[in-house]
């Protein structure tokens, strides 16, 4: 049972109005760390987050107050929203690339810099992906400290689905093989779960080696192409390796009415739920522990 990150980034997939009403409190790293702590006390055992300055600050706080002890981390990269925003203010994709290169160089991660240089000189995207992953993993480990466990690094939904759309089999293979070699479980966050499962079978990527993060909820919200197709694909998996998100359909459902649906699904490894108030953290994870464990 994982604490989801959306409220800490000021996101509500129900409506932006809802996140405006929530105010800025959940985006305060100290407050967010306290919510994670409360969630852990009530049954959560991990944190799923997009890697950003915001979430790294939360990990910093957790490390300093000991809240990282045994915490399982599921990191989503890249934080697509931030990069899309940066592309807007930095002069498009080339401007964004320049800025990222600068950040990696100044990070002092020599392995990443060497691989990146190679990637640029040879126009080799695989080297650049490797560079980027090394850079992100080092940032997470530095903030999270040794007591937290980086379970999985997941490719962000926008990237996963873009690569899926463009049929980029090699990216999925490269990403999976590279992370497995580093001892981290490769993960994919997708809004097209059924298609991803179908494609992995076609490409002979072992579904046993990866974690998939996808929406599952009883109203079929964001379950593409349909709730039925996603359930069918889920049932066909060789083992429980799916982390369900949007289980409350972005707050459309109450936890009590959504949890029974999730409990009845096969092959669910875990769920991630975002919380924005102390009361929610306690009640939600108590309920999830009671129904799902």
């Amino acid at each position: 049972m994982l604490v989801g990150v959306n409220p800490f980034h000021g996101i509500s997939h129900l409506s932006q109005e809802r996140s405006r009403i929530r105010g800025n409190e959940p985006t305060n790293p100290e407050f967010a760390a306290r919510l994670i702590g409360l969630s852990v006390e009530n049954g959560a055992d991990g944190f799923m987050f997009s890697v950003s300055e915001q979430t790294l600050s939360i990990l910093d706080v957790l490390r300093k107050n000991g809240g990282n002890n045994g915490l399982c981390l599921y990191a989503i990269v890249p934080y697509a929203y931030e990069y899309v925003r940066l592309a807007s203010v930095a002069g498009g994709v080339p401007g964004l690339a320049k800025r990222l290169v600068r950040e990696i160089v100044f990070s002092g991660n020599l392995g990443a810099v060497a691989s990146g240089l190679n990637g640029i000189l040879r126009s080799d995207l695989a080297s650049l992906v490797k560079t980027y992953l090394l850079y992100e993993v080092s940032r997470i480990r530095r903030s999270a400290g040794g007591k937290a466990k980086l379970e999985s690094v997941l490719l962000h939904q926008l990237l996963t689905d873009l690569c899926l759309g463009l049929d980029l089999e090699w990216i999925f293979k490269f990403y999976t093989e590279f992370l497995l070699r580093t001892g981290i479980v490769p993960g994919f966050n997708t809004g097209n779960f059924a298609l991803l499962v179908e494609k992995f079978r076609e490409w002979k990527i072992s579904l046993e080696d990866v974690v998939i993060v996808a929406p599952f909820n009883k109203v079929g919200f964001q379950m593409v192409p349909s709730r039925e197709e996603c359930e069918k694909a889920l049932a066909s998996l060789p083992k429980p390796n799916v982390l369900a998100i949007s289980v409350l359909a972005a707050g459309y459902l109450r936890p009590e009415e959504s949890v029974d649906y999730i409990a009845g699904l096969p092959n669910i490894k875990g769920v991630a739920v975002g919380v924005s108030k102390e009361k929610h953290a306690v009640e939600t994870f108590k309920l999830l522990r009671e129904k799902l464990q």
């Binding site: 980034h9 000021g10 996101i11 129900l14 409506s15 932006q16 109005e17 996140s19 405006r20 929203y81 899309v84 925003r85 592309a87 807007s88 203010v89 002069g91 498009g92 994709v93 080339p94 690339a97 126009s123 080799d124 995207l125 926008l158 689905d161 873009l162 899926l164 759309g165 463009l166 049929d167 980029l168 990216i171 809004g191 097209n192 298609l195 109203v219 079929g220 919200f221 964001q222 593409v224 192409p225 349909s226 359909a249 972005a250 459309y252």
Partner: protein, 325 residues
């Protein structure tokens, strides 16, 4: 059906990803000006021809071309596509052109050369606005009397004045406000600009916020507030508050609500409006938009918003800028 994308920035990637999934569509070519992106693309995508200028797309026997370059280049790119014989069925990201004059010249080319054409005002394919359009057409809130529209984002919120950040050259009205203008034209028909004010927030001379009043030929009066410097709009958001003779309608990207004079109230979220698509990339509306365009090309039918319709937005933007002096 063979499709090419011109301009492989974020919108080009998004459309390419969706198009390649659509049944009967194959992405066969990408045209991109930036050498670095072209070099990587050639290694990344299989069976896709990567070129540096639109003229090189001729000879590929394309069925449709997507133009997703920056707005300033829409006119020369589309013109080249027509003149070099690549022309056929064109989808152009919003806005059609940098000004009304250019947009009008593109419409003339369409009238001469034909083909299916569409402009990427994707909010027409967002379930909340689609439902709002149905309700307004059905007269659920009676005859529209007035409206207030906004288009906000936080893209440039909190920046110090004259920092190194460059806002898009076309300004906020064309970049973001165009969506609200297009929806207003769709909802209420033609109108003219009566009064406009622009504000520079980020840099001297940049157009970062705008306020303008309009009056439709039907008598409806409206106000627009547009800005990319507003807190709380992590994602760009467009919304309308419509006052009708029988009640009010409130709609934005996420939700729709009506409140009638007889006391009836109703609210819809995306969840309630069948917001389902065959493939999700970005938002569902992009899939619906691309699907509609491709269906039109396959069926050789016209589709909205076409160049002619989108030209009205370019005209209104010019009016706003002229009124503001």
């Amino acid at each position: 059906m063979k499709v090419a994308v011109v301009g492989f920035g974020k919108m080009g990637m998004l459309h390419a990803g969706i198009l390649n999934i659509l049944p009967s569509v194959k992405l066969v070519a990408v045209c991109e000006k930036t050498g670095l992106i072209r070099r990587f693309l050639k290694k990344v995508v299989r069976d896709v021809c990567v070129v540096d200028c639109v003229e090189k797309l001729s000879g590929l026997d394309l069925d449709a071309v997507y133009v997703t370059t920056p707005i300033e280049s829409h006119f020369p790119v589309v013109k080249s596509l027509y003149e070099s014989g690549v022309r056929c069925n064109l989808f152009v990201e919003k806005t059609l052109a940098s000004n009304f004059g250019e947009a009008g010249r593109l419409c003339e080319m369409v009238r001469k050369l034909g083909g299916v054409n569409m402009v990427g005002y994707m909010r027409r394919f967002c379930v909340t606005f689609m439902k709002a359009k149905d309700l307004l057409d059905e007269g659920v809130v009676g005859k529209p009397v007035s409206f207030r529209a906004y288009a906000y984002s936080s893209d440039f919120f909190g920046l110090k004045r004259n920092s190194k950040v460059q806002t898009p050259k076309v300004g906020v009205v064309r970049d973001l406000g165009c969506h609200a203008l297009d929806l207003a034209l769709w909802f209420f028909g033609n109108f003219r600009v009566e009064d406009a004010r622009l504000e520079s927030v980020v840099n001297d001379g940049s157009v970062d916020s705008a306020y303008f009043r309009v009056k439709a030929s039907s008598g409806v009066v409206g106000e627009f507030n547009v800005s990319w410097c507003v807190d709380g709009y992590r994602m760009p958001e467009v919304g309308f508050f419509v006052e009708g003779s029988e009640g009010i309608l409130n709609v934005n990207d996420d939700e729709l609500a009506i409140s009638l004079k007889d006391g009836k109230e109703r609210k819809w979220l995306r969840h309630d409006l069948g917001d389902r698509v065959g493939f999700l990339l970005g938002s569902p509306e992009y899939y619906r938009e691309d699907e509609r365009f491709i269906e039109a090309v396959l069926g050789r039918k016209s589709v909205e918003p076409c160049f002619e319709t989108a030209t009205k937005v370019d005209r209104l933007i010019d009016e706003v800028l002229a009124r503001a002096g």
